[in-house]
Symmetry: D2
Subunit: 179 residues, 4 copies
Amino acid sequence: MVSDIASDDLGPWLSEHDLDQVRRKVPMLYVDIVPVRLADGGVLDSVGLVLRGRPEGTITRELVSGRVLHQETVRQAIARHVEKDLGPLALPQIPVSPAPFTIGEYFPTPGDHFVDRRQHAVSLAYVVPVAGDCSPANDTLEVTWLTPREIVTPEILGDMSEGHAEIARRALAHLGQLP
Amino acid sequence: MVSDIASDDLGPWLSEHDLDQVRRKVPMLYVDIVPVRLADGGVLDSVGLVLRGRPEGTITRELVSGRVLHQETVRQAIARHVEKDLGPLALPQIPVSPAPFTIGEYFPTPGDHFVDRRQHAVSLAYVVPVAGDCSPANDTLEVTWLTPREIVTPEILGDMSEGHAEIARRALAHLGQLP
Amino acid sequence: MVSDIASDDLGPWLSEHDLDQVRRKVPMLYVDIVPVRLADGGVLDSVGLVLRGRPEGTITRELVSGRVLHQETVRQAIARHVEKDLGPLALPQIPVSPAPFTIGEYFPTPGDHFVDRRQHAVSLAYVVPVAGDCSPANDTLEVTWLTPREIVTPEILGDMSEGHAEIARRALAHLGQLP
Amino acid sequence: MVSDIASDDLGPWLSEHDLDQVRRKVPMLYVDIVPVRLADGGVLDSVGLVLRGRPEGTITRELVSGRVLHQETVRQAIARHVEKDLGPLALPQIPVSPAPFTIGEYFPTPGDHFVDRRQHAVSLAYVVPVAGDCSPANDTLEVTWLTPREIVTPEILGDMSEGHAEIARRALAHLGQLP
């Protein structure tokens, strides 16, 4: 029996091949971040969604999301993914409490849960206010800021994966701003 | 380069060797469960700790804790670990909300976080009231029920790992019962 | 200047006149309770709504809700209102943690907040699983159990006050079950 | 029977006499605010306590705390009390979510709950990061910033009321920083 993960690769970054193997063994830990802009007095103004182009010409809208790496704290993962998607000048308020407001459970096969074709993943979800300029480094991305009322339209929710759409709506409810 | 994880072993249970390899690649997802007994009116009566004997003759006290397996929901993992440690008649109230009251971050090397020599693990922590009989199937275990005031004594906290002691105290605070 | 509240009436129950006066002075503290039935494994099955007939022939659907009285704990208020609306055999799981999952802010005049023509009220909102028989003592009431999908229809939400409809939807989101 | 509250005084501020009367009728709604300073990455640095001199020469340490007024939102009450105790340049992050991390229940007579000789009060407790300068307008006050380890010493906790000491420790637990 030949094994598929290189034992001498101890860094947090995995090769495509090794990542593919690990994904078949254990649930992967993610963070799902709902970036928000606040009006005066801490009231929610708008929610940021990341726009990505698909090769086939369609677009998708996504939360800021990604893996927690080996030896990385959840806070470091949040900061890293916010910087990756919103740029280095976003001035995020990293959550003071480690408790997520909800979790997302993604399974490779459809059912009662969110679907992620690649893997079984569990995400810790946080609302992260950003006060600075958001300018994604990667030019294939754009960040759009939408009001709660705009977010919950079928058009916008339809541009998101079922999981992200649900996490976004749970965030609005958590903030007392579900239209 | 020879890989170390068998690609054809797709079940949730990993061989010792494969588990060891995966642990060096990604954070492992755990649940930390604080079992509680309630008095009338839903007020906390006592917290259950699992007693384990060590080969060297010492004992340790632990929360109900364990991995979330591949393709297993967090609720299923909670139910499985409660049954494993408290027996099939414990009548646990599995949490209605998926949001943990806190998370634990365990790292293999000492620092600002909890320590787990084996791995980087992140636990979702839940309080689980149990109403039935707790009789561990495995006879090397015993469950003891301690009041909040007993839990926070140096003797009891000293029998627990730093991580579990801290999760237990956060649970008491979350329940408004930190002595 | 003649005062309007009797100083010698120190019990928790206020006369209509005194209650009316107090309501013009301070925010009134309420509990808003979302009764739920659970399926196996702790998954949400249905939400209970209290049906009330109006003199003009219309009906309204309500959460279990009411004032916290002077010298009464929040837990006692929850237990009292559950018994009042769901009967003495409902077997409610009074929340173990005192923290509400959300709060409702009701103001006498329309605006960005919920409206309660009678008063400024702030409610602490809790999800309360009930395992027993629900049979309201007061025969003008009925309790109906609706699935999450039934709750969020315009018909059902339209039978509820804006505040209760919103608290119910926030509860579904908190439980990870917002359709 | 002569009443004691003037019906024509509809403003949020009550005379001493009217406040005294209302306090004997209904629970009073408060906010208990735990001001914190954050280090890089959102990690808790220190907690702010307000120092007050007592006529008899002793000092007490307090959280930022006070009543929610009639027709005032909870957020407005938080902002008002932070400005009152920490000054107009504190730059507080008013909570985005309306849900308190815990509640405090204060009763006029000793028992299982916190004691407030004046009244039955229920407080909504929030952690509020402040980024600016804290300089109390009222010169009888001073704000001291203490690390989690300093807060939980018997000396500091002994300078606080039992209720505030407990809310402060629950806040540390909620933030994952209970020493």
